[in-house]
């Protein structure tokens, strides 16, 4: 069996395979290391970083839903400096490709973090625009195309690292947001972030999450995520990392065929820590069985009448 070239290119960064782990689901790569180390992945996306360390929301912060879960962790993280000093050296020491996810309260926060990451070995910066913009009454940055274009442009001014904008699905027209990020100079796009959802405890008549609402992830969101990847691919030629409920190789194939260049695996790891590895192996097998020399040939191979 001829070896398949499993590499993909995202904004000039070569990933050894098209499977990355998603921000918030794998910490900084240490906890799952008893199963496999992060260098086996196309890339690891670390927990969302903020300028200062954050404690996050009060518990209860997680709840199960049918084929999914809600989270309202609230961006608990040790801060961008701790990532640079402590976490990044560990990941680079084991040979991982690292995507740093950044989240800010204000555009200035994003710029300062992007600037701080420039002289580091971080491979890609992923911009989380699903956070509330405190200067605009807490409305998420990522729901307004004008803000998305502006934030992307400002971040690009402050770093030479490739900038990937992570799109929020809680919008009317995802293609419009994708085009705004592209106009702002985005080098790549990742989608989707979580959908907004809630659960209520019928015994107490209170919301299950202390924060009342949270982000929905897992297989339940997959058809929405897939549809959005398909729509965004029709709107732009930028590299896309597609994510949202991907748990096995068939799911990953759907996203690649629809237009993603790589896929992200997140919630699935809670059920099965080996999910990303099984997907990598499954994609290689699929490519070999279907006579593909390079996995990249699969991207955007959807047949539409």
């Amino acid at each position: 069996m001829k070896t398949v070239d499993m590499t993909v290119d995202i904004a000039g960064v070569t990933l050894k395979n098209p499977v990355v782990t998603v921000s918030g689901t794998c910490g900084f790569g240490r906890e799952y290391s008893e199963y496999y180390t992060a260098d086996r992945l196309g890339a690891i996306t670390v927990k969302g970083l903020t300028l200062e360390p954050r404690e996050g929301n009060p518990t209860v912060r997680v709840a199960e839903t049918p084929s999914g879960m809600l989270n309202s962790i609230g961006l608990q993280n040790p801060g961008v400096d701790a990532y640079i000093k402590r976490e990044l050296p560990y990941l680079k020491g084991i040979g991982a490709t690292v995507i740093a996810n950044i989240a800010g309260n204000t555009i200035a926060d994003y710029c300062r973090m992007a600037s701080a990451l420039t002289e580091t070995q971080t491979d890609l910066i992923e911009v989380n625009i699903s956070c509330p913009n405190v200067k605009c009454g807490g409305v998420a940055f990522g729901t307004d195309p004008v803000t998305v274009e502006k934030i992307t442009a400002e971040i690009k001014k402050n770093t030479s690292k490739p900038v990937m904008v992570k799109l929020s699905p809680n919008v009317t027209d995802i293609a419009e947001i994708a085009k705004a990020a592209e106009s702002g100079g985005a080098d790549a796009l990742s989608l989707i972030n979580t959908l907004l959802g809630m659960r209520i405890d019928v015994k107490t008549r209170k919301p299950v999450l202390r924060n009342k609402v949270g982000g929905l992830s897992g297989p339940a969101v997959r058809p929405v995520a897939l549809r959005m990847v398909w729509q965004v691919r029709k709107a732009t030629g930028l590299p896309i990392i597609g994510m949202g409920g991907i748990a096995g190789v068939e799911d990953a194939l759907e996203f690649l065929i629809a237009g993603a260049n790589a896929v992200g695996v997140g919630t699935a790891m809670f059920t099965n820590p080996y999910a990303p590895i099984e997907i990598i192996d499954g994609l290689e097998r699929y490519a070999a069985e279907n006579g593909l020399e390079r996995i990249r040939e699969l991207s955007s191979s959807l047949i539409e009448e």
């Binding site: 910490g27 518990t59 912060r61 608990q76």
Partner: protein, 251 residues
Amino acid sequence: MIEYAQILEKEFFCGNIVKFVLRAPRIASEAKCGQYLMLRCSGEQILRRPISIARITGDDLMICFEIRGAGTLFLSHREEGDVLDIMGPSGNGFSLESAKGSLKKSLVAGGGLGIYPLLQITKELPFRCDAALSFRSAARVNFVAEFERSSRVFLSTDDGSAGRRGSAGDLVRELLEKEDYAEVFVCGPKPMMRAVARLAEEFGIPCQVSLEEHMACGVGTCLGCVCKTESGQRRVCKDGPVFRSNEVKWE
């Protein structure tokens, strides 16, 4: 690690509590007292359920859980011979060196569904433990015979229908007044653990508690299960579930 474990024994208590003995040699060889397992349920339930290990015997792990929702209902339908997908051993476990090295007895205090992780302590300190087991009523009393095989058991129920009448706190106070214990190990509903922690502090005895919190990943990455301690926020799934009682910020 992930292991596929066959159910060797299945038993019901009090109508809705299930006991399984699982054959899990790889996890059992590494399991420590106070650790737990993350059990995979049916397809629609993507989150594993955390269930304490009650007893480690060679290749076998004993677990007990109440049927509470869809996940535990699914598990309760599995039969002897079925195979479960389990992840573990998880968490930090109880620290027994001090208790083992002491000439004094230790006290394990369990409330309701919290009694199970304490059983293994009594097996590692055979007849060097008193077990204070507290239930709501006689109808909820279970597992006492297991404890009696390795410890001296004191029973209480809230309504006095079995054992002493009163709360876990009342029972523990009575015992602390009579005996000089090396250490107290507690597991149960949060108010019960807080009450016993306060008693341990009052009597100047070190105390370890096993906390519970809604979990998702069970390995320490998602940060869903944090609790507040004197040293800052900690993950119940990985830094715990066992904490020193004076470290916990009881709200």
